[in-house]
Each structure stands twice: as C-alpha cells, then as structure tokens.
C-alpha cells in the first residue's frame, strides 16, 4: 500500500452526471422496444397469409374509445407528476388514481374484445396465423399494461398511506416514463393491427 495516492475531490470541479434511474429506464424501454419490433415485424410479415378464416377485416373493429382512454392516461400521469413536484400530494393522488382507472378501462376493452372474438367469432390463437400473431402482439402489449398498472397501484398504495412526498418526484417520473412508453407502443400496435392490418 505504498506506491500511489489519489488526491481527494477538489472543490472547483463541477461534476454533473445523468440520473441513473432515467438512464436505466430508457435502456429498459429500448430493450422492450426491440421485443415489440420483432412481434410487429412478425405481424406485418404474416398479414394476409392465413390459410383459413376468420380474417381481420371480418372481425376487427378499431377500439377507438379505449385507445382514447389509454392515450389520455399519458396526460393524467403527466399532471400527477407536475403536482407532486409542486408538493401537492393530494392532487397528485387524484390524478394518479385517474390514470389507473383509465388503464383499467383499457384492459377491460381488450378483455371484452377477446371475449367477443373467442366466443362469437371463433378466433383463438390456434385458429390461423392471424389469431397467432394478433393475440401475441395485443397480448404482449396488454401484459405491459398490466405490469404498468401493478407499478402504478403500488405507488397509489404508498400514497394512501402518506409515504409519497415531493422528494419522490424523480422516482415517480421514472415510472411515468414507462407508462408513456406503454401508451406509445399502443399507437404502433393500433396502427399495425387496426389500420394497416385490416
């Protein structure tokens, strides 16, 4: 322990690094985006290649209302974060709860669409290539909504018990980033499945 010594931090140096939460969340989003890309490519590649019906044009109607719900939840979560940064925890809680509600409505929309497809139109994941790709892609997105909702609900529980304060705003923002991503993916999935794919 002889040879060298490192001088301690000198005060003049200004040293700012990016937030590791943000960096990690952006990395995770990149990884997730890559997964979705592969599923989207498979969807586009198999479009119109099903050997038997039902075909997308016969059974799919764009769930516009539910899409509006999900997309507006990006706005509500944004307002929630803004209120928390201002130290307004009660308002934060209200917007947050609204976000969860909108996400849940969206999930209900997916569930009822699947119910109709399975029991009325007889389309399951084994029926044809459309079924396989449709349920996989929409299901993968739905899974992400569920994961997001679990995260949001955890925060909600903490909020109810008064454990979320202004100093947590940065972490809440990291979680919001994920939720924005889930919404953005829906724009892509919606375009691919209900616009191009029909």
């Amino acid at each position: 322990m002889s040879t060298t010594t490192i001088p301690p931090v000198t005060a003049e140096l200004e040293w700012n690094l990016p937030s590791r939460g943000q960096v990690a969340m952006y990395s995770l989003i990149t990884a997730e985006a890559a997964i979705f890309t592969i599923f989207v490519v498979a969807y586009l590649f198999y479009m119109g290649k099903s050997l038997s019906g039902p075909m997308p044009s016969e059974v799919l109607t764009p769930p516009i209302l539910y899409a509006v719900c999900l997309l507006s939840s990006s706005l509500t979560i944004h307002f929630a974060g803004k209120n928390l940064r201002d130290g307004n925890v009660r308002r934060f809680g209200a917007w947050w709860l609204l976000t969860i509600a909108l996400g849940a409505i969206f999930l209900y929309g997916t569930a009822s669409e699947w119910h109709r497809l399975i029991y009325k139109d007889g389309l399951t994941i084994t029926t044809n290539l459309f079924g396989t790709t449709y349920y996989s892609l929409v299901g993968l997105h739905g899974f992400h909504v569920v994961m997001g909702l679990l995260g949001l609900t955890t925060v909600m529980v903490f909020t109810i018990f008064g454990m979320v304060q202004r100093e947590h705003a940065e972490r809440i923002d990291v979680l919001s980033l994920y939720w924005h991503f889930v919404d953005a993916v829906w724009v892509v999935v919606f375009t691919v499945v209900y616009v191009i794919g029909r």
Binding site: T5, W15, A24, L28, T132, S136
Partner: protein, 557 residues
C-alpha cells in the same frame, strides 16, 4: 495507495462459520463478489462444455467410430454450443465487467447492486435449468432428454411434431431466463458507465475497457431482446398451438432464422468487444506505451456496434434470399471488417517501438492479434456469398468461428485472468505455469483449428455423426482431435494455477504491473467500499499522472 482505509466489520475472516460465509456470498450485492460468482460459475460450465467438446472430437477421431450414439452426438453439439456461448463466455465477460468497471471509473459499486444480484441469479438459474433437462426432460414420451436441435434451433426441428418431450422447452426457457439476466446486467452496465464516473472522468477520459463494455451492453440490449421475442413465439407455438414457425399453417421457418441471427450476429460482437477491452488494457501496459489512437478506437467500437446490426443474414446465404438481399449483406459484412481492421492496426501501433514485456497476459494478447486477424479473414471469405454457397455449413465455418471465439476471445480472456488475478485474489499467479498453459494452448489451438479448415474445404459437413473412410478427411480429423488434448491439458494447468496460486501464491502488490488505471490504486483485493476516498482524475492515465507529477498526461491530452 490511499493508506486511509475505513474500519470494516468483516475483516476477521477466519472466525466465520461455513454457513455464514455461504450466506454472505449468496446474499451479496457487492459488484466484486458478484463478478467473482459470475467468473466461477462460468469456469464450472467451461469444464462441462469442454468435456462435451472432447467427447464430440473423440467420436470424430476416425471414420465409422461409435464412441457415442447418434442421438447422444446431437445432444452433445447442441449442449456444447449453447453452454459455451450463453453460460461460459457471456457470464465470464459479465463477471469481468462487473468486477472492473466500478473500480476503473472510481465508483463504489454498480448503479443498481440489487439488480446486479438478480441478474446473476437469473443467469445461474438458466444454466442449471438447461442441465436439469438431462434428468427432467424425459417426460412421458421417452423421447430423449437433453436438447438436440442445435444451438440455433432451426424450425421446424423445434415443433412439437419433431421434438417430442420437453427437451426443446428446456432449451427455450433456459435461454429466456438467462436472457432476462443478460438484459438486466446490460442495463446496469450502461447506467454505471454513464452515471457513476468519478469527478473529472469525462467520457473521453474513460479507460477503453469502460467504453467497449458500454457498447457491448448497448448491443446486449438491442440483440438479446429479439431473441427473447423469438423464444416467446416458440413457446406460443409449442404450448398454445400457435403457428409462427409452423409451415403447415402458412408459418415460416425462414423467419425464425432471421430472428435468431438478428440476435446471433450482434451476439458475436457482444462476445468479442469485451475481448477487445482486455487487449486494450493489457497491450499498452506491457508495451509501456499509452494506447495508440484512443479516439479512433472509440469511434471504431461504436461503428462496429452499429454495423454489426445490419449483417445478420450472412448466416443465411445458402437459404436463397435473392440477389438484392445477398448483395446487401455481402457489402455490410465486408464493411464491418474495416473498423475491426483499424483496431488491429491500433494495437500493433501501440506495441510498435514499445518496451514489450512478455509476461503471460501479454503473450495471450499477442497470439490473439495473429489469430483474430486470420479468423477475420476467413470471415470475409465466408462473407462473399458465392464462396459461402460452397462452404456454408461445412467444417470451414466451424473452423472460422472457433478461430474467433477460441483464438480471439478465449485467448484475451486467459490474458485477462492472469492480468487481474493479483487484483482479485491478492496473490500472484505462477508465471511458469502461466507460460506452460500458454504454450500448451497455442499448440493445441493451432493443431485443432488450423487443420479443421481443410476437411471443410474438402466438403466435410458440420454436425455429422460419422463419415466414410477414404474421402481425404481421415488424417485431418485425427490431427484435429489430437489438438484437443493439448488444449484440455492447458485448461487443467490454468485451473491448477488459479487454485494453487490462490492458496499458496506470493502476496501481490497493489500495482504489480506498474499500470495506469484506477483499479490498481485500490488495495489487492479491494475492500468492499473500493476507495476510501472517491478519486478525481484529470487524464486517461490517472496513475501515470500520480507517479510522474513532473510530466503528467493531462498536459497533452
């Protein structure tokens, strides 16, 4: 070094019981311990994968051999490839990255220590799961145990029809699970390198090791995710009756190939970038010169990262993709050789005029330079589509990629083991045994993989169980197998050296190589907190600046 050290509760090592020690290791979130866990885990699998390789080569030593049955042979090459890529090279590289990055950038740990532990245990579980197939996959079907579909598991071999029982499921799930671990570690590395650097260490002053691992982590994020997606699709096909890769229902077997190689080619750069990282640290220190062309090295690395994502279908020339696709992938494959070549010249220029010390780590790096060059050249040959139509799926391909993976990656990896062993263990390794390992391995490597090209050119396909005598392949196969025994001996010497030196080796200095990066300023082995005081750096070689206050680097950079 910083003589200030912090009193730490657990210095009285001898007084802890075995269970306590075990508990400490299993629950650890320290990047150094996790690094060592990764490395030891990988070494265990290296031995397993090595035994599989040896059995494969014994089977091929002469024509009409029946050392193992054809079924077992298929399982062996599948398990060998899967093990070596996913459970040896990936974890060992993650281990070194984990151990060294925080020390090199002057941090006390990774950005997310618990994510780090989670990722390690996911990877570990994946490997155990793969091998559990040997007892677990038999199921009710009596249809074999370990996976036998090859490491790239082409459809339709993986469909329920052709792969009864659960062996393929074990393969898929093992890769899926360890893939989550890899993505977790990659995210952690990115966050660590970007957000945990000590004051003064701008991106342009990071050790190249950190740069190369940053790009490697980026590639893991972009490459392993498609594999994850493809594995999910395969599971949908196998368990839910989907048709992604089911040609009977209009699905496509070729799209699996695309998805696999979109992962597979960047993956080879995931493996080789850390090898470049080792070489970029070891070669300057043993040439007593700073690395030549640092900015160019960084640029070439980033370029490799980008280009490597656009070359995947050079693995598919023989599929018949059509002229346009073939042309595109030939050109992009040729293009990737350019930044790689730049790197080789930079290492050579670093050595040029240097005062080279032929210590074991340096020997391995020098051999790497030659071997990697040749391997790259056979890669360029295979990258020319018409050439590949002749030699695709032959032993020439097997020789090419083993030349890169063994001759390139494993060699620098051995170098890294010897170079950082004193830091990690606090003991010196035996230089004599190190050199013995090197020579055994060089001889074995060249016997095996130089001569493996020839039966390939003579038309011997890969993955055949046995062959007819009199096709001109016999002698070459004999030589190839003989080389394996030299390599195995080398590995035994290597493991023996590690173990012997750990218990009996001389105590190591903090800075045995008179090196320049921050890890050498910490104690050997470093305490849990790494640095008593977080360092500040002004140049790429902070320890040089300290040792030569009269002529510091930051005056010139």
């Amino acid at each position: 070094m910083s003589t200030e050290s912090i009193a730490w509760p657990s210095t009285a090592a001898g007084s802890r019981s075995f269970v306590e020690t075990l508990h400490e290791w299993v629950t650890t979130v320290d990047h150094k311990r996790l690094g060592i866990l990764y490395i030891i885990y990988a070494l265990v699998f290296l031995v397993i994968g090595g035994i599989e390789a040896t059995v494969i080569r014994i089977q091929l030593i002469r024509p009409h051999n029946d050392f193992v049955s054809p079924q077992v042979f298929n399982r062996l090459f599948t398990m060998h490839g899967t093990t070596m890529i996913f459970f040896v090279v990936m974890p060992v590289l993650f281990g070194f990255a984990n151990y060294l990055i925080p020390l090199m950038i002057g941090a006390r740990d990774m950005a997310f220590p618990r994510l780090n532990a989670f990722s390690f245990w996911m990877t570990a579980f994946g490997g155990l799961f793969l091998y559990f197939s040997v007892v677990g996959a038999n199921g009710l079907y009596g249809a074999g145990n370990a996976p036998d579909v090859g490491w790239f598991a082409y459809a339709p071999l993986t469909s329920q029809t052709f792969s009864l029982g659960h062996s393929t499921d074990f393969w898929t799930l093992a890769l899926l699970v360890s893939g989550f671990g890899s993505i977790g570690t990659a995210i952690n590395i990115v966050a660590t390198v970007l957000c945990m650097r000590c004051p003064g260490m701008t991106l342009a002053k990071m050790p190249l090791f950190a740069w190369l691992n940053l790009v490697m982590a980026g590639l893991v994020i972009l490459a392993v995710s498609p594999l994850t997606a493809a594995q999910i699709m395969l599971l949908v096909d196998r368990y839910l009756g989907g048709h992604f890769f089911d040609t009977q229902a209009g699905g496509s077997a070729v799209i699996w190939m695309h998805f696999f190689w979109i992962f597979g080619h960047p993956e080879v750069y995931v493996l080789v970038l850390p090898a470049f990282a080792f070489a970029s640290e070891i070669i300057p220190v043993f040439s007593r010169k700073p690395i030549f062309g640092y900015p160019v090295m960084v640029g070439a690395t980033v370029a490799i990262g980008f280009i490597s994502m656009s070359v995947w279908a050079h693995h598919m020339f023989t599929v018949g993709m059509g002229a346009a696709a073939n042309t595109f992938f030939v050109i992009s494959t040729m293009a990737i050789a350019v930044p790689t070549g730049i790197k080789i010249f930079n290492w050579l220029a670093t050595m040029w005029g240097g005062k080279i010390e032929f210590k074991t780590p340096m020997l391995f790096c020098i051999a790497f330079l030659f071997q990697f060059l040749i391997a790259g050249l056979t890669g360029v040959m295979l990258g020319a589509a018409p050439f590949d139509w002749q030699l695709g799926n032959s032993y020439f391909v097997v020789a090419h990629f083993h030349y890169v993976i063994v001759g390139g990656i494993m060699f620098t990896l051995f170098g890294a083991f010897y170079y950082w062993f004193p830091k990690m263990s606090g003991k010196m390794y035996s230089e004599t045994l190190g050199k013995l390992h090197f020579w055994l391995f060089v001889i074995g490597f060249h016997l095996t993989f130089d001569f493996m090209h020839i039966p390939g050119i003579l038309g011997m396909p890969r993955r055949i169980y046995t062959y007819e005598p009199g096709r001109g392949w016999d002698t070459w196969n004999l030589i190839v197998t003989i080389g394996v025994f030299f390599q195995a001996a080398g590995i035994l010497v290597f493991l023996g050296n590690l173990i012997w030196s750990y218990f009996r080796g001389e105590l190591a200095d903090n800075d045995p190589w008179d090196a320049w990066t921050l890890e050498w300023s910490a104690h050997s082995p470093p305490p849990a907190y790494n640095f008593a005081l977080i360092p500040t750096v002004k140049s790429r070689r902070p320890l040089w600046d300290l040792k030569h206050p009269d002529d510091p680097d930051w005056k010139y950079e």
